[in-house]
């Protein structure tokens, strides 16, 4: 992932680069972003952010986070435990019993067990856009509440300001983003 911050003074640019890096890491979208470009213009209070979406992580399946021991399921990655449990209860109801924090007992027939491993617990694609928009909201200064999106393939670009956004800035944003991203 490449992050480029321009427009402000050296200190502001460096500070916002760190803010971008930390925010993407906190939201777990670092690996799904190819490029991030941020243009700061504090004098006119205009900020432009453009994020190019890259490869999205593959869906997480039951077999990835849990191991089978006959009819008992042992959760390896506890982060996915709530999602796994709700999936099993939806699918099998009372036949899936949580014995302890990481152990689940399944009263299933053998033929039901095999496809279970391939069941998708969580698909990062589902909420990727929501997470990217959340990141943009966290990065852009809070006062810049007037937003103008510029649509593009595989990229999210937003101009933000506290004043109405002029045609001039819309044009300039297209030029800036066209230059660095795409």
């Amino acid at each position: 992932m490449e992050i480029k911050v321009e427009g402000g003074d050296a200190f502001a640019n460096a500070a916002y680069e760190t803010i971008c890096k930390d925010t993407f890491r906190d939201l777990g979208i670092r690996s799904s972003i190819d490029n991030a470009y941020l243009f700061l213009h504090p004098e006119e209070h205009v900020f432009i952010i453009s994020i190019t979406i890259g490869r999205v992580a593959s869906p997480i399946r039951v077999g990835d986070v849990a191991s089978f021991d006959k009819k008992t399921l042992r959760i390896g990655d506890e982060k996915y435990a709530p999602k796994l449990l709700s999936l099993l209860w939806d699918k099998f109801g009372e036949r899936a019993q949580q014995l302890s924090r990481l152990m689940i007992e399944l009263n299933l027939e053998d033929e039901e067990l095999a496809p279970l491993k391939e069941m998708v617990i969580y698909d990062p694609r589902e909420d990727l856009i929501a997470r990217i928009l959340d990141a943009i909201d966290r990065i852009l200064p809070e006062g810049a509440r007037v937003r103008y999106p510029i649509p593009a393939d595989h990229a999210v670009t937003i101009i933000a300001s506290e004043d109405p956004i002029s045609e001039e800035w819309k044009q300039r944003a297209k030029e800036l983003v066209g230059h660095t991203v795409s």
Binding site: G8, D9, F11, A12, A15, Y16, T18, I19, D22, T23, D26, L40, P42, E43, H45, R138, P141, E142, G143, A144, R145, E162, D163
Partner: protein, 297 residues
Amino acid sequence: MYKIMMFEGGVYKFNELKELIEDIGGFILQESVMQTETMLHMAFPDEEERAIRNKIKDLGGKFTELPLAGTEIMVVSPSLGKHHAVNPMCDVAEYLRRQGAITIVMGLARGVGKRIAQITVEEKSIIEESDAAVFVFGEFKDCISVKAKLCEQLNVPYLMVGGPPDLELPHYTGGIGRRTDRLRRAEDIECLERMTTELDKELNEKRQAVDEDPLAVNPLFVKEMIEMIVPAKAGEELPITVQLDGLRISINEEDLTRIQDVEIGTRKLSEIAEIRKSLFKGYLVKIRPESEVGSIF
């Protein structure tokens, strides 16, 4: 004059220290005992420091000066949103607390942005209830310069903290701007220390004003007298906060007359102090100067 210091140590002979403070005419501001660890904020007359130090030498423990003790400081951020809270707003508040201050965190209703940033009259009055204010701003020099004009209206000492280290503005300290993690590195602590020193300087003006025209009675003494008449309710923390020129008391309206009638020397509290309802918490007791009310003992 009273000196305010902090003792941290074990419970061994802890009571003896408390008795000594009372014997020499000092006050206990805050006390917490956590199993075998104790922490005590105490105020005692300047000249008795040697006696306290000797006692602490016997007990073993840490004895540190609290530069901001006895003050109530408002930490103001442009909003309470995720851009400012919890970092760095809470880190600033926490550091000030460690230096002895009682801090209140406040977010402005319309403090964000540059042109649109504003402080309402009510917010200004709330900030002015405390001894000093610390404003936590962001990374842009332009925005900080514009917001500095908003802070100029205040009638209490204030300090602005923000990111740019090289900004030439009065009442400004750099190095603490927008952050996404805790201020825990050595250079961050250095910035926080610098902030404390600057704030201490700002507060010195107010301290000097109080020294030149002394109050009728020390707020610490009033606190002790109030506690004797209206004891703190179970589980209530810091019902009385000491300020440089008064106190903030968290009481219900029905207790107000009891507070007004507390005897301080030969007078009642309501005669030597102005008691008014705070705009956000409890009642404010602003003690009048001795030159106005005369001697009370």
